[in-house]
Amino acid sequence: MSERMGFFTDTSVCIGCKACEVACKEWNDVPDDGFVFRATSYDNTGALGASTWRHVAFVETADNWLMASDVCKHCTHAACLDVCPTGALFRTEFDTVVVQADVCNGCGYCVPACPYGVIDRREDDGRAWKCTMCYDRQRGGLEPACSKACPTDSIQFGPLDELRERADERLAALHAQGRSEARLYGESPGDGVGGDGAFFLLMAEPEVYGLPPDPVVTTRDLPSMWRWAAAAALTMAAAAAASTTWRR
């Protein structure tokens, strides 16, 4: 396995040009996602989905206009991967999480499993789609299309360890400038998903951007749930046996 690769999206320098959305669709041949005027600032994409793998949020606050390019987080503990029954979702040599379109059977288990609401099924073919961190480009030694297209380096691609260092420096610089609202999101290996392969520098609370404040891998409780279920089953069995015994 090579080094873990990731995205660091520094929203403090995002100019909302949406070049990431377009470059992603161009490279990955993602279809358009409908022509809907949403009247939500300059966001007519709405959210990440099967046909939107980068999404730029526009948030109008009292004194500013926040922009942020969202993407699949490529979680350390990826629930989508855990629940996929076919093996269509797999972890690559770059430690990213990718769906193999030719394996996916469209069961859709991964959709509710994602704590961020990223992965989604396309209505026409039923299969699940999401950001691959341009797996094919990476295998060819190229950086992903979105970070390549980003004019202000808001989207940075590289080895995750390096990106985390760079993010810490950027955060410290912003704090030194008095921008105390700046914070990192998804960079900590100690969080509920074991840290994100794609993490962010935000200029407000995560909820402001529509991000969950404290995401947890949805399969976290599965083992204990299984233990509880097993215990319950045993109890049931014992009770049933007891009742049978009693009747007898």
Partner: protein, 838 residues
């Protein structure tokens, strides 16, 4: 800039990361504002008051960079006794003729010049004033061609009451922070923050740059907006220095190139003026009128003769005036709007529309379409079937029943065009940098490049012409480029080589200084001479380099100079103003100018050079005359000639404005071009029927009139519908609902748009009232092969122009806005009629 030039904006972000302060001045809080340190809201159409107040702040506080100002500007020059300022004439300058609405600029000249002109010496072209107002000849002065006295009377103490510095001081005294508040709607606190920052970031150690786009130019005083910025930058010493300047961002990939090798009616390649039918019959007459004799325009004969030789080759000889008589002539205003009105009047019969979509993209869309409908023939070359090619069957006038397709006799030829990746050639960007691009793929089907089209059109025309004398200019034309490929594409490199020019030996020249007046050299555009130096396509160079100017990346005109007038980056003695801002300097040991850039100055002219009496061309420039294209070598704070509407900028209200002009009795620019036409009436100024300011703009997601973006699903889905932006206050006042519909009405049209209510649009409080602005992007049209369609914003706009460059006032007019969709069919006409009547 982040909105419309996101790729270039990365360098602003880079500068910001290195400590630069970014101010954004705009009617709307945009994506640029979000990235700026400070956002300064402004009423569209009031910028001269803001810039004037900054000038006043600099002058009143003596914050000007005095050494720079004395050495490199005309601050000390004494102006004629006959000059009267707007201060004296309540908003007019001396020389205005109310009947013709034009200025005679003779009274704006420098003192003592009148007599010399009478004595037959070269001087101010006083009599030219009206001429250039009629033929937009001011444009020839754009690159410094206006004649002026090379050594006028001066007062180096700047105390003479008629010296430019004092004239300026009086003129701008009324441009106060209070006026900024009342006219622009900018709070005093915001103004002071800006003024202090600009002064603090100017001088020896620092420079300030102003970046503008059509938000400054599309006004009836557009050229004067830029003049105002020039005055400020000259006073602060921010011209010709790294990090300084006034940077014009262009709306398309090679707009700079299309002015250098012009698509404009009034100039020839290299900013040589177009000859006039009556006043410039011979080459000598033309050169007499063309520009000054001193400064680098003094070599105008070499530039012009080389151009004529490039076009007519061996047929051009000294005996036949180098075929000067072959050139077409101007008889008046032949700008785009005059052309369209000529179509309606039946004077203009045929029309080429190449890579434009005027039925959607030009002001007064209905007027544009009425013109198109009255042609004999129309050629549209584009990559998609734009509305300009289909107006006759699906245009708005068909919908309202005003016209029927069967009544339109225009024969329309649609010719599919190759895109930029399907052809080779150069782009010239705003820094004057030419960058060669290769053809990546062959154009599909019948798509062809513009070069292919014009070359083969020319060949076919030449095959059909007669032996008649009238066709001689076409017969004699050099029209012989090598062809290659299946489609017989002419070689773009051969064209570039021809533009560069050749010497008597047939080899390419390397500098415009080598051009000769005797017909021994050829050059298709003198300022591009050197782009093919040494028989090498210099524009194709791609060496990034660590130097601040990356001199081997592409090629910048003239002579690969990256910062124009960079002599001003050194002090009068030739030393850098500071270590931080060193760019070029005088090396006394070597006896030459040196540094990171190519000096925009004669390489071996020492700082202490003083011209002998009677010198011409560059020999007339002293070692401190940094502005080498000017006849006097000075940056002009006061323009004694060259502008159709005054030697200094003055605030005038837009032609359509809801407010009076509280600066002067004169309300709007007196010299603006007004067309009183039934098809395109104006909103009365101050009319309560049209109480809101209307401004148009572009979005990152789309390109101009939409031909290249509405057709692409990936772009169209990002901004799928025509919308307008209004403040919550205006929405409440007019019952507009976010996400709902609104109808925007002017005297020209009523269009519908989805409503985007946003606090980014802030009501302005000025002159004791609240003023609302309505913003509309102009990317949509009714068809255009687009996956998204919508009403066209430009249908709303008036046809009223700046008198210098004939640009339309697209950024500040008035409108009404009402909730709901617009009526259809005849009911739409009734609604507009109702507004016109009231």
């Amino acid at each position: 800039m982040a909105e419309c030039h996101p790729v270039g904006f990365q360098w602003v972000m880079e500068a910001k990361a290195r400590g630069a302060k970014v101010f954004h001045i705009d009617p709307r809080f945009t994506r640029t504002s979000a990235m700026a340190d400070h956002f300064v809201p402004i009423r569209a159409g009031s910028d001269i008051v803001l810039l004037g107040a900054l000038i006043n702040h600099v002058l009143a506080g003596e914050h000007d960079f005095r050494e720079y100002v004395l050495a490199y500007t005309n601050a000390s020059v004494i102006v004629s006794e006959d000059f009267r300022d707007t201060e004296d004439l309540d908003g007019l300058f001396s020389g205005f003729d109310g009947e013709t609405r034009t200025y005679d600029p003779s009274s704006w000249s420098y003192q003592g010049l009148e007599e010399e002109a009478a004595a037959g010496q070269s001087g101010e072209h006083a009599a030219e004033g009206r001429h250039h107002a009629e033929t937009a000849r001011a444009d020839q002065y754009g690159s410094g061609g206006a004649a002026a006295h090379p050594r006028p009377h001066t007062d180096e103490t700047l105390r003479h009451p008629r010296c430019v510095y004092q004239v300026l001081k009086r003129h701008f005294a009324r441009y106060t922070p209070e006026m900024v508040e009342e006219v622009c709607g900018i709070p005093a606190e915001d103004f002071h923050r800006l003024a202090e920052a600009v002064v603090a970031a100017s001088g020896r150690e620092r420079t300030t740059a102003w970046v503008y786009s059509v938000g400054w130019t599309q006004h009836t005083v557009g050229a004067q907006y830029i003049r105002a910025a020039s005055i400020l930058q000259l006073l602060l010493g921010n011209m010709g220095r790294p990090g300084g300047g006034i940077l014009a961002l262009r709306g398309h990939a090679s707009i700079q190139g299309s002015t250098d090798i012009p698509t404009l009616f009034n100039i020839l390649p290299g900013y040589l003026p177009m000859p006039h039918a009556h006043s410039t019959r011979t080459l000598d007459e033309y050169l007499d009128h063309a520009a000054g004799d001193t400064g680098f325009w003094g070599n105008k004969r070499s530039y012009m003769v080389s151009l004529l030789k490039s076009w007519w080759g061996d047929a051009a000889t000294e005996d036949n005036d180098f075929c000067f008589g072959y050139l077409p002539r101007l008889t008046g205003d032949h700008g785009t709007y005059a052309t369209v009105l000529g179509q309606i009047d039946g004077i203009v019969k045929g029309y080429f529309v190449v890579g434009e979509n005027p039925a959607v993209g030009s002001s007064g869309g209905r007027t544009q379409r009425l013109g198109l409908a009255n042609l004999d023939w129309l050629v549209v070359r584009d990559m998609t079937l734009v509305e300009t090619a289909t107006f006759w069957k699906d245009g708005p006038e068909i919908e309202t029943g005003e016209t029927r397709a069967e009544d339109i006799a225009t024969e329309v030829f649609f010719l599919p065009a190759a895109s930029h990746v399907e052809k080779e050639g150069t782009f010239t960007q705003t820094q004057r940098l030419l960058q060669w691009r290769e053809k990546a793929v062959e154009p599909p089907g019948d798509c062809r490049s513009d070069l292919w089209f014009y070359y083969h059109l020319g060949k076919r025309i030449r095959q059909r012409i007669s032996d008649d004398e009238i066709d001689r200019p076409l017969r004699d034309l050099t029209w012989d480029y090598p062809e290659h490929g299946e489609n017989r594409d002419p070689s773009a490199e051969a064209v570039l080589r021809e533009i560069n020019g050749t010497g008597p030996d047939g080899r390419t020249l390397s500098s415009y200084l080598d051009l000769k007046p005797d017909g021994s050299t050829r050059s298709g555009c003198w300022i591009y001479c050197g782009v093919y130096a040494g028989e090498v396509n210099q524009a194709a160079r791609r060496k990034p380099g660590r130097s601040p100017v990356a001199p081997e990346w592409g090629w910048a005109w003239p002579l690969n100079r990256r910062i124009l007038y960079n002599r001003a980056s050194a002090d009068p003695k030739g030393r850098p103003w500071s270590e931080r801002k060193a760019h070029i300097w005088w090396d006394a040991d070597k006896g030459e100018w040196t540094g990171a850039d190519v000096p925009d100055f004669e390489k071996d002219k020492p700082p202490d050079y003083r011209p002998p009496p009677g010198a011409t061309a560059q020999a007339a420039l002293s070692g401190t005359d940094a502005f080498i294209m000017q006849a006097d070598g000075k940056g002009w704070l006061f323009a004694p000639a060259g502008l159709a509407d005054g030697p200094l900028p003055a605030h005038y209200e837009p032609h359509e404005s809801p407010l009076p002009n509280i600066m002067y009795g004169q309300r709007a620019n007196p010299a603006r071009k007004v067309y009183n036409r039934a098809e395109s009436p104006y909103n009365p100024a101050g009319s309560p029927r049209f109480p809101y300011v209307l401004t148009t703009y572009r979005l990152t997601e789309h390109h101009t009139a939409g031909g290249m973006s509405r057709t692409l699903p990936y772009l169209a889905e990002l901004q799928p519908e025509m919308f307008c932006e209004v403040s919550p206050e205006l929405a409440a006042e007019r019952g507009l609902v976010n996400g709902g519909w609104a109808t925007i009405v002017t005297s020209r049209a009523a269009i519908e748009a989805r409503v985007l209510v946003s606090e980014r649009i802030r009501p302005l409080r000025l002159q004791g009232r609240t003023l609302h602005q309505v913003g509309v992007p102009y990317h949509w049209g009714w068809a255009g092969g687009g996956v998204v369609t919508g009403d066209a914003a430009n249908d709303l706009m008036p046809i009223v122009l700046d008198p210098n460059v004939y640009i339309q006032e697209g950024k500040a007019s008035t409108c009404d806005i009402r909730p709901g969709r617009r009526p259809r069919g005849k009911a739409l006409l009734d609604l507009i009629e109702e507004y016109r009547r009231e």
